[in-house]
């Protein structure tokens, strides 16, 4: 069947996430951006939503709910509607936990999953992106070489969320430089391991509240059992599909926040004796935003639904994420435009959303559903 209505359960989850985003996140987002840090209580309240805990199997202390990519995109949208930096901070531990649930050996599940169900957000993350102009998921430059003792990792990673405090990193590296997605494997690298250097906090255009770092892996040795899935390995393409779906949902959330703000502003701001929204030039910009947001959301939902059906969605997730990245930039830019001079001023949130939105074209592997 073709159906566009979330389930009752999904609606309830979205409502609680939306309430958190509205009441706890949005009022603090600007200060967080200026100060470069997210207040602990904002993270704490967000963690208590139990978004990650719910999908961890009961055997490891979670609630054992079935993982749903559709629900994941819905949640991503609501979180990002509050603030993208907070959303990525809260979702970062899942970058390690979800692949462990999906591909981890029993030993790896026992080792890592209980950490996420104890009190408070456990700082873990994944390292996907690389600081070079030709960064390509289908051809990572970070290499993993097997030797007698295990695996040797070499390369540089960047934009690793929660990197300053993460205890464990899931580092993705290629075993063959021309092997595409299938040659990429994940490796657990703990803070303090020889050969791992955690760089300074990165200084980015947007997402200033989000802690991201560069990692340098210089002949970093990890034991064989630190390979995600051990002998069986993982399906990097599918992990990245889940990432593209999350990024798509997040982009929709950012776009919707900018659209809502601009629409409200345009109805209140008066010029020449009427609200500026009463001019078709402005009204049509807003109408286009509304249409584009819905268009992208439906593409993301469909790809997520297919993912949940077990289908390969490289094409669908890739196209949806690509469109989402274009769309969110255009919408946030237009939101700044609707506000005119005020849009450029940091007293208003829209310039921050534009800076955040610009990243989506480059972002990969920053969150997964």
């Amino acid at each position: 069947m073709i159906d566009f209505t979330p389930t009752e359960e999904q609606r309830m989850i979205c409502e609680s996430v939306a309430a958190y985003a509205r009441d706890a996140v949005r009022p603090r987002a600007r200060d967080a951006d200026e100060e470069g840090t997210i207040p602990g209580d904002v993270v704490g309240t967000g963690w208590e939503l139990g978004l990650l805990q719910s999908v961890i199997p009961e055997a490891y202390g979670g609630f054992g709910s079935q993982r749903s990519a559709v629900t994941g995109t819905l949640v991503a949208e609501e979180l990002a509607y509050g603030d993208l930096a907070v959303a990525l901070h809260l979702l970062a531990p899942r970058l390690l936990a979800q692949p462990v649930i999906d591909y981890g050996s029993t030993r790896q599940k026992e080792r890592y999953l209980p950490r996420f169900t104890a009190n408070g957000l456990y700082p873990a993350t994944a390292a996907v992106m690389e600081p070079r102009i030709d960064f390509d998921l289908a051809g990572l430059a970070t290499m993993a070489r097997k030797d007698a003792k295990g695996w040797v990792l070499s390369g540089r990673k960047c934009f690793v969320p929660l990197g300053s405090r993460a205890e464990t990193f899931l580092v993705y590296a290629a075993t063959d430089p021309s092997g595409g997605y299938s040659a990429v494997q994940g490796f657990f690298v703990d803070r303090g391991m020889p050969g791992l250097t955690i760089g300074e906090r990165e200084r980015n255009m947007g997402l200033r509240a989000l802690d991201t770092v560069e990692l340098t892996l210089d002949g970093c040795h990890v034991p064989v059992e630190n390979r995600l899935g051990e002998e069986a390995g993982c399906d990097f393409e599918r992990i990245m599909d889940a990432s593209r779906l999350a990024l798509g949902g997040l982009a929709v959330g950012v776009a919707r926040s900018a659209y809502d703000y601009a629409r409200q502003y345009a109805k209140e701001r008066r010029a020449f004796g009427r609200a500026i929204a009463q001019n078709q030039a402005i009204a049509f910009m807003l109408a286009e935003m509304a249409i584009e947001i819905d268009a992208v959301r439906l593409l993301v939902w469909e790809a997520a639904w297919k993912f949940d059906q077990g289908q390969r969605v490289l094409r669908e997730s890739y196209l949806a994420k690509r469109y989402a990245a274009d769309m969110v930039l255009k919408i946030t830019d237009n939101a700044v435009q609707v506000l005119g001079g005020h849009g450029y001023i940091r007293d208003y949130p829209v310039e921050m959303w534009l800076r955040n939105a610009r990243g989506f074209a480059s972002f990969e592997g920053l969150a997964i559903v």
């Binding site: 979330p6 960064f135 390509d136 109805k267 078709q280 009204a283 109408a287 297919k306 196209l319």
Partner: protein, 421 residues
Amino acid sequence: MIEFKLSNAVERMQQITHAVAEGMMRPISREYDEREHEKPWDFIRTMWNVSKDNPIGGKRSKGGNGAAAAAAEAEGEAADGNEHNERNLGMCVSVEELSWGDAGLYLSIPNAGLGGAAVNAAGTAEQRHRFLDRFKEGDPKWAAMAITESGCGSDSAAIQTTAVRDGDSWILNGEKIFCTSGLMAGQESKGFVVVWATVDKAAGRAGIKAFIVDAGTPGMKVTKVEKKLGIRASDTASLVFTDCRIPLTNILGSPDVPKTSEGFKGVMATFDATRPLVAASAIGVARAALDFVKDELCKGEFSLRYGVAPTKLTAIERDIMDMETQLHAARLLTWRAAAMLDEGQRNNLEASMAKAKAGLVVTQVTQKAVELLGPLGYSRNCLVEKWMRDAKINDIFEGTQQINMLIVARRILGYSRQELP
């Protein structure tokens, strides 16, 4: 539950209509584009014989806008309560396939069309019976809707055609243009035309009512069949009404309609059902063009590298991926608008969103297809140039892209027509 699987019934319809498109429409597509104003009678008769028994969109129906469906309903063949109603969605899927075959031929298929949609949406049971039953029997028939005049299109409140009561009759006077299938509905078959006219010019929109004029009614005359950019297999007619006398009961809706604004609203509501169909037709044309481009490209070394870094894509890959994405986004918006209607929800906003997006997207996609194919795209030896011409109508009829944007804007802003003119 969010779900994107076409039901088996809709998938079957998709297969059948695709077979029609490929086997019956594509082979005569170019011919009836070149021979404008000639009718593909073999195709028309075949489609009539098939569709009067098996209406596009299936028989299971509650309301909806197909004539045969309405007739079935009148006979008491109500929808199976356990069966999910997916009539509008099914129509969208079918119309996309038929338009993939040929949009002009699709529009020339004999059926109750837009006129029937209006009767079904706003007519009384007696009117549905009197005007729609005929679409189940006899020779091929068409029904049309005449709104546009030389001085007004989207601004239907400015209609100048008049309807004046005279005893047991209405008398119509005026001229209509751009009436799709007007020739077939008004003159060449035993169909009918739904004509918008004012009963009170001073009342503005409230004075606009719809009237059903049987084909061949004295005083109604087809004066011109337009020569067009595309969809040439479909006739677009001018109709002149000179003291055209119709029965009092031919005012669309209840006899009280003249005193209320009901008639106008009712007919406007048919657009909520037909805009997704226009969007679906648009998507079919653009998909034809996109399929063709991809097939041609893939004869060479070309492949689409989904998943590589965006910076590594070639310009052509980017173009094709944009086309695919935009087209499918328009399709999902269209399906949503149709599914809402099937669920009995108001879809005025969503229908306009789909129509506005689809009209724009198919225009861009087909124009880009001509460009990407180079000399092949521009040549009349291929159908791509035709698809570009055909596609453009979808950006215009059933409300231009701009009118639909205006509807979306008013709705999202909560503005009236006066607040956002």
